[in-house]
Symmetry: C2
Subunit: 108 residues, 2 copies
């Protein structure tokens, strides 16, 4: 065992889980907050800000990229990481869809 039964769940469930999973680490929250507050950013700037090594930050950025939250534009020898605004808004929509589907108490 030890492997998630993704194929047993719906595409929508997997999609939402992929996004929230990417958000499920404090370092990745910190990276996103940094990208938002300091505008356009290089991996090196994030490494300077966070208590993690360059390779670890690079790995977290890859997670965020796989979830679609972030995109990286090559800029010379650097890569400029930015929030993918379209995906960002869509992701919030998916999350709000889940939270908003609760209308009243689920039990009394």
């Amino acid at each position: 065992m030890g492997l998630t039964k993704r194929e047993e769940f719906t595409k929508a469930q997997n999609e939402l889980a992929l996004i929230t999973k990417a958000l499920g680490h404090p370092a990745r929250i910190a990276i996103l907050q940094f990208l938002i507050k300091s505008k356009s950013c290089y991996c090196g700037d994030i490494v300077d800000e966070l208590p993690l090594s360059q390779s670890t930050v690079s790995q977290h950025l890859l997670e965020l990229k796989k979830a679609g939250l972030v995109k990286g534009d090559i800029d010379g020898p650097s890569v400029c990481y930015c929030i993918d605004e379209k995906a960002w808004n869509k992701s919030l929509g998916l999350i709000q869809g889940l939270f908003g589907s609760l209308k009243g108490p689920t039990c009394s």
Copy 2:
């Protein structure tokens, strides 16, 4: 290595990550959706609905409980699992706080 450096991040970052991490598995999304759509629910009902064993569902429910999204009220030999509405709304607020902090493009 192999262990998240939680203490290096803020309490708020860890709190948000705990919630999103709990949401980061399709089975747990499915469980929450089931609790919402079918109102008050027992673990056994969830087991019948999902392609997972009783012990695995129990484990996922524990994850959701640790994140505070769900609470379990003992009802005879059963446990009635419900969305913790207060925590639910607070969680959405935290997530919206992150998403809403993006005002414009992070890079051009």
